[in-house]
Symmetry: C2
Subunit: 387 residues, 2 copies
């Protein structure tokens, strides 16, 4: 078991109607807030209006239009500028993981005098960040309970996972009812995102029995409840359990003491969505079973066998290779069954830039040190198999 | 799924040699510290000397001799007096859950002008507490990752679980090597304690699929690794995994969104150890299977079936009642197999005060509102069956 240093100080306020506690939480900060959100779905569900109602007396500056795969330019840069101009005390992020990820980069940038890219690219370590409170409207990324955010810089095709201890949200509000109107496409992408977060932490050299059980429970719960959310978008219990499961995806609690995994599917997918701006969860779902097939060998076989038996209930008396291959098929079939396009061509990616992307990934993502090391050639093969 | 409001801000620094980081952590506080510990085992393992070596330049006041089932008088009262007299900045608790529980009550009492019992008995809510750092030498209670402590008051036979948000340790150091010398008796009691913490959260009316999987993983891991710790006390991997599992026992993360369980075995055991000062984990192990047998009925049957299949691997094709009864037997047999005396008579409790204890529990523990409600008569029957 590996040494670790772990802390997640974020307060989770979870359940029906919890947004009513927003004034109590915000009272801990000053009166000038930056409200960040995306394309306006929070207006359709009445949450935008609710926030203004609850926060009468606050000076609210808005940054809207934050996109999926949030962009350094203009979103992060605009947000930092607004924070500095208006001397903002606290950021209130309302939306999904992209809004929150972008807000984290803004929070750090607002407390730094130089170019915010210095922080995101790890040239400079943040000394402080503005406090962040969020109201989550999409179950997927787990950003509400971690200290990371993924930021894309279009001109360089960079998509960087920026992590810093200062970036844990102060408080995350999670009301499953706000996810009732999430589309089937986005719900499925969220399921795939959280499942892949778990898979990335499950496939490691040394895992504790404890963590294996936690991860297997995550995967079973996400599949069962994810399906229910798709069948009946207003199934509160299913939406709630899916929302909670997603929360655990990225803060490390599923893998404390495990050895390093390298998060290979994320390494690959970040380049795909940096080059083609595809939906992150869909990209992960497409890559995952192809990555699995690529890394299955004598050494990794036992992990796949355990995964197959405990996650998909495959008959343990079958041969090991049969169980492993069956488990990979089941992974593919599950993603397909929830309506995810399972070929890169279906999301607009052809074979024209595979070499370029594979090179970018090999240089930037450190996958040669992953659980199953991937060289540039391996990465290109996985992408090609995903076409 | 129930609403919840959850936060565990404690930093966990876990692994071999992590105590070297103590100076870095302590540097955040002032130079006057109260060092709390128990009977001196920390001197035998060299940890006491190590602390003094690492904290040169600190003014260290000591409170030693804190007992299992820590006492309000003298330990809490002495500690509060020392903190006030010496204007203590921070408490460093070194030992097991009892030392830490006692230190939490001291931390709150030190910041309160009146009788500390006002706080412990919930007459007055704490407004502040001294910061606490701990170095854990016994895997059991989970106090290192929660905001509660259990304090006994001998003259009134009270044993109260005192919880307050101010009482989360600032940082917990967990080095599994410090548990190598824990006796077989205390190791077994620790396994039983953490298993019961999990069981108390598993047997509820509404549980999420996610939490069920987490709890089942806890129980399997504690049984497998607990046995290994008993067979080879210096098995680092087993000691480490047991230590981590224990950490999750009491901070609520195993049951977020679940309905209320009432922690019935704890309600009963607290009275047993308040009246007879027995080892907490042993008391819990003795009570647990008798409580299970008492509450098994048509309504609770499905929970026992799930428990039997997923924790003990009982054949799912058997009849439901057979699975449930078999699961209860397996629970008993596991505790017996790790050397726990499974009858109250073996730990010095006879039938002379059952009525008195049952009455005390019925009045103070709220078990009429537990998952399987227990009246005074039920409590007396469970204790009698445990003799």
């Amino acid at each position: 078991m590996q040494n670790f240093d772990y802390q997640t100080p974020t307060r989770l306020i979870f359940g029906k109607g919890v947004v009513e506690k927003l004034p109590e939480v915000m009272a801990q900060f000053g009166k000038k807030l930056l409200l960040t959100y995306g394309g306006g779905s929070i207006k359709k569900i009445g949450l935008y209006q609710k926030v203004y109602e609850l926060l009468k007396g606050y000076e609210i500056i808005e940054l809207s239009g934050i996109q999926p795969n949030p962009k350094y330019d203009p979103s992060v840069l605009d947000g930092v500028r607004l924070c500095k101009e208006h001397n903002i005390d606290v950021i209130l992020a309302v939306g999904g993981g992209s809004v929150l990820d972008c807000s984290k980069a803004i929070a750090a940038g607002a407390c730094y005098d130089g170019d915010p890219w210095d922080l995101i690219s790890y040239k400079v370590k943040a000394k402080a960040a503005l406090p962040i409170v969020d109201i989550i409207t999409l179950a997927a990324t787990g950003s509400e309970y971690d200290c990371g955010g993924v930021i894309s810089r279009t001109e360089t095709n960079d998509k960087i996972g920026y992590m810093d201890r200062h970036l844990f949200p102060h408080t995350s509000f999670l009301d499953p009812e706000y996810t009732f109107t999430v589309s089937k496409k986005q719900t499925a992408a969220g399921i795939a995102d959280a499942m892949n977060h778990t898979i990335e932490q499950y496939f490691v050299e040394d895992a504790t029995l404890l963590n294996d059980g936690f991860c297997e429970s995550m995967l079973r719960s996400l599949m069962v409840n994810g399906r229910k959310c798709l069948e009946n978008p207003e199934d509160y219990t299913a939406r709630a359990e899916m929302m909670l499961a997603c929360t655990y995806g990225c803060n490390g609690i599923l893998a404390l003491g495990n050895s390093y995994s390298g998060w290979p599917c994320h390494g690959i997918e970040h380049a795909l969505s940096a080059y083609y701006d595809i939906t992150h969860g869909e990209g992960l779902a497409i890559i995952t079973p192809r990555w699995m097939k690529h890394i299955l060998n004598e050494r990794t076989l036992p992990r796949f066998v355990k995964y197959g038996i405990n996650v998909f209930g495959i008959d343990a008396t079958l041969g090991q290779w049969e169980i492993a291959n069956h488990a990979i098929e089941e992974t593919y079939k599950f993603f397909e069954s929830i309506g995810i396009p399972m070929h890169l061509r279906e999301v607009g990616i052809d074979d024209s830039r595979i070499g370029e992307m594979a090179h970018h990934i090999a240089v930037n993502e450190g996958l040669d040190k992953a659980y199953a090391p991937l060289a540039e050639k391996d990465i290109a093969e996985i992408i090609t198999a995903s076409l």
